[in-house]
Symmetry: C2
Subunit: 177 residues, 2 copies
């Protein structure tokens, strides 16, 4: 049988607690979100295109931690010797359902803006079937796993982003009139 040895590195063996030890801060999930939904794969993209204005030292620290925890991976970009490509691991990709539910909760209970919550709405309405489709897409992009079935039409991320653009255009028109 397995022997319980005391573990000073963790507060407890509760799954909720352990998840919070890995992801329980104001920035870690923001970084994963940008990689997953915004397809940000480079440091600069994550830094300068981030909605919340993450600082470069915080970003560097979170990438280091997520890497150490195996939520993301890092490899060299062949096109540029100093460029690194960050990818989600399977462990990271499987956070998608968590994002879907967190997004749904936030949308229901917090003062979200329409354009930034349209993706969460579609993800909620699409349900587990859509989540699985998106995760399969992420496995292609981040793990290089080829799909069993070739995909027809735009991917999930593209559809989500199209909806975002649609809201923005409608808002822009409304502002002019």
């Amino acid at each position: 049988m397995t022997v319980d040895k005391e573990d000073t590195t963790h507060r407890s063996g509760c799954p909720i607690n352990l998840t919070l030890e890995v992801l329980g801060d104001k920035w870690s999930l923001i970084v994963v979100r940008d990689m997953m939904f915004g397809n940000r794969r480079h440091f600069r993209e994550l830094l300068s295109q981030n909605q919340e204005g993450i600082a470069s030292n915080i970003l560097a620290d979170r990438l280091r931690r997520l890497l150490a925890e195996g939520v993301i991976s890092k490899r060299d970009d062949p096109s540029h010797k100093q460029k690194a490509i960050y990818s989600l691991t399977e462990k990271g990709i499987e956070l998608l359902p968590v994002f879907a539910l967190i997004g749904a909760w936030g949308r229901k209970w917090l003062p979200v803006t329409e354009e930034l919550s349209i993706r969460a709405q579609l993800l909620e309405e699409g349900g587990p079937a859509l989540w699985e489709e998106f995760m399969e897409e992420l496995r292609e992009e981040h793990l290089g796993i080829m799909p069993t079935l070739p995909r027809a039409g735009p991917g999930v991320r593209e559809r989500l982003h199209a909806a975002y653009r649609e809201v923005m255009e409608r808002k822009a028109k409304a502002a002019v009139c």
Copy 2:
């Protein structure tokens, strides 16, 4: 139409971000978890029965914040002039599906202990139907809403806790032999 006024209180209107602004730290969800799954309703219960050893000033601060955010409510305990009863609000109760998925992710990817993850396993296996049953139970206990159908047999929390006790007893036996 609604006018966008600049909002210095929030980093962005993204539902993920706003949720992190409310719950994105190492303790807030621990407190909600103990109220939800451990049925802790008093300060001392939350403090001294907490697995992770939360400090009293942190607990006081998180209760204050969760109260301000409307995730929990507070009222006097009629049996004791100094005793306060903390309850989940509907907003707090609806975090249950989030807990279920976070628990499932932690159980799959992190070094959980069997006895502390058996509840997460049952919650995952039970799916949305079990979550809904548990939320209905929480509404009774925390909001005082009477069920449409009278319940037969032990509630969800009791069943989860029974499973926990079962694992603990089996472990205790194994340790002796």
